[in-house]
Symmetry: C2
Subunit: 429 residues, 2 copies
């Protein structure tokens, strides 16, 4: 067993097996143990000593020390002074996740804004930039030119602050497969090779991009992953929720057993196109009676009589009207909530999630949406009596998508630190 | 490594890890290798020699021989004469799954019939009994008394034919949690401790039941598992389908990545209660506009003008009318198909399965349901262009549920043969 020698015997081998019929192959124990130690440091609520890591993981102290040196050198963890302690004995130096060092860059293209943000290894948002402007009617190339400018500025902020960009997540409002944006109904974009276009432009932002560190995904999927990171309890695998993303379009990320459900071809979560009324209003997608036609931001603004170009922000205007007791606004929100509730009840009947998370523009509108959604769930979910469903706003609010996009890159480093250690950062020194 | 000695080194260790953060513990290699060899014998399209099993699994010949002896003694496999072969060399004796020996007993309670069947280890149905009678309005105790009588007769058939009952699956038309039938809307049953009631009565059928070998599950779930067993291609994990179960009620089993999706509390798959029209017809469940109100067997018979008590079987009567070109029947089927299609499109938009399987009474009606379902899918699935969805009748037809229930018990023996080898059969010698 010479290949394992440097790190001794591993007692706690967490292997993600690909499936029932596939063999567990010999994996690099170093790769495994780096991730294992980093996970224990990350999960510890307070700085944790090398000895405590050894006890918790079953690794020898020598192994832990050797791995810790690698993680320190890679700026993944830092040593923290021990807290003063009563009694005899010198407390060990504590280890904690580094809040400088590798960070994730999140990018978002949406119909009425572009956004970028940087999230450090601890999950803290360090920099954010947003550019509000109508993107409908523009070409993908023009939009990506603007986005990369925003990315360059945000990345420069990060480098100035002592971070290095370890990966990029790009969120787009549409169907994505193999890095191609098949369809973005509200941008009227079709078959855009968005991944190639991003990779081509990345050097302009000072990002020497390794394609393996870049993902392109649906905005609601990334927002749901951001929510999962931000709000999962001690048992992440117990998380099961429908994250509803209200933007110009309506999407969703569906989390089951602590993981995003992507579907056979990666197109799961098209909540906005759940049929509410088979012969109802025409949707941008061409079908009739989709939820999006009744509960999108546009529908709410129209029904509430609010100008989408309202200078103070149209959603803030709806909130102000509802707070002031405007019947028109309250009815518009009640109707949107009932429509979301009908579709959410269908999700619960089909998938049995225990929580509905209201994200995007639905987060600030949650005080008025929650009651009608809850009412439809109570009326329509067959198992409602035995399996109650909670409705709550997203903890990340309207920024969940871009934070979730950056979080993808952070999670990649945290789950496979060996990859980070082997590669240079994306930002040249 | 003494504990591994009897079976040598295992190269192909298929471990079902419980999850990302849990350790892979030392498992009994005997348990593992028994299942591994049985799986290879089962997967082989023709009888397979011990040498070929050794080559395929990476186990030593001595290990394979030792395991094969155990499997032969437990009646899980049989030796088969080798086919005549040209050329020199004596061909090895072939091994195949036993078609006598352990078998699964499937039981089904439905609104208008009770059923039982026995499936052998190869998946072949050996015995079937059905008792058509209205169960609505009867008590669970009375129904279980009748069911156990049917089970006794079917089990006696099996014993007479040289089989031993290794386990029981019971399918019920409602919400099941922890062995309790929470709700069967079409039987108007509530909170029935169906598992206890079955276990109490089992000895009457000559079944000395080990509770671990008994499952109670929703009828559509078991039917979907039956369909998966019967129709999965070489890569079972690639299977993703919505199995729609048309009975008095409408249910579904949703298979994703080759496994049944059960949901957070086990209540997933309530396809019959997907909302089709929010202000529509009242459903048995109390809500308005559920699919079941538009596409159940009752709705189709009513719209087609067929008496549910038709002596030749009401569904056969609908088929005859449709074949004869009856406009009333054709319109009824068209409307039911459109309603199923609207709900199926919602499932595809949310979960991205690639196939809709029409089961139960929908199987014989498939020639008339497929077109309207396909039309709604084409119109309403956002990713339809990139991710086409097939619609087809169940390969098991109306018997999928009771066969799937027996199949649960068969699968249990095939996946964990050590459990079978350690326990006696349920049928006393």
């Amino acid at each position: 067993l010479n290949i394992f020698a440097p790190y001794g015997i591993v007692k706690d081998v967490a292997v993600k097996t690909p499936g029932y019929d596939e063999p567990v192959r010999q994996r690099s124990l170093r790769t495994h143990n780096l991730a294992l130690v980093l996970r224990h440091v990350a999960a510890s609520p307070a700085p944790i000593s090398r000895a405590a890591v050894a006890a918790a993981t079953g690794l020898t102290r020598a192994t832990v020390s050797s791995i810790v040196e690698e993680l320190l050198a890679g700026q993944l963890i830092v040593e923290v002074d021990p807290p003063p302690r009563a009694g005899a004995g010198r407390p060990g130096v504590g280890l904690a996740l580094a809040d400088h060092g590798p960070a994730g860059l999140g990018l978002e293209i949406n119909v009425d804004y572009l956004a970028a943000c940087v999230v450090d290894l601890t999950g803290r948002v360090r920099h954010r930039r947003i550019r509000r402007a109508q993107q409908r009617g523009r070409t993908p190339g023009d939009v990506l030119d603007d986005l990369i400018e925003l990315a360059a500025a945000t990345s420069a902020d990060a480098v100035a602050g002592g971070h290095t960009i370890a990966g990029i997540g790009l969120a787009v409002p549409g169907l994505v497969a193999d890095g191609v944006l098949r369809l973005a109904p509200n941008l009227d974009w079709h078959e855009v090779d968005i991944r190639d276009q991003l990779l081509t432009r990345a050097p302009r932002a000072g990002l020497a991009v390794d394609p393996a560190t870049v993902t392109i995904d649906n905005e609601a999927n990334l927002a749901a992953l951001g929510e999962l990171d931000a709000d999962a309890g001690p048992d992440r695998r117990a998380a099961s929720f429908l994250y509803v993303s209200g933007e110009i379009g309506v999407g969703a990320g569906i989390v089951v057993d602590g993981d995003l459900m992507r579907g056979r071809r990666g197109f799961a979560g098209e909540f906005g196109h759940v049929t509410i009324r088979p012969d109802g209003a025409r949707c941008h997608c061409g079908a009739r009676g989709c939820l999006e036609a009744y509960a999108s931001q546009e529908a709410i603004l129209r029904n509430a009589g609010v100008d989408p170009a309202d200078p103070g922000g149209p959603v803030a205007r709806v909130v102000a009207l509802a707070q002031a007791g405007s019947t028109t606004a309250l009815v518009a929100l009640e109707e949107a909530g009932a429509a979301i509730g009908v579709a959410a009840a269908t999700v619960v009947n089909l998938i049995d999630v225990d929580t509905i998370v209201l994200g995007g523009v639905y987060a600030p509108l949650a005080p008025w949406l929650t009651a009608p959604i809850g009412r439809e769930l109570a009326d329509r979910v067959l198992a409602a009596r035995w399996a109650p469903v909670a409705v709550r706003p997203s903890v990340l609010g309207a920024s969940a998508t871009v934070i979730g996009a950056a979080g993808w890159a952070v999670r990649r480093v945290r789950e496979t630190p060996s990859t980070w250690l082997a590669h240079a950062s994306l930002t040249p020194a």
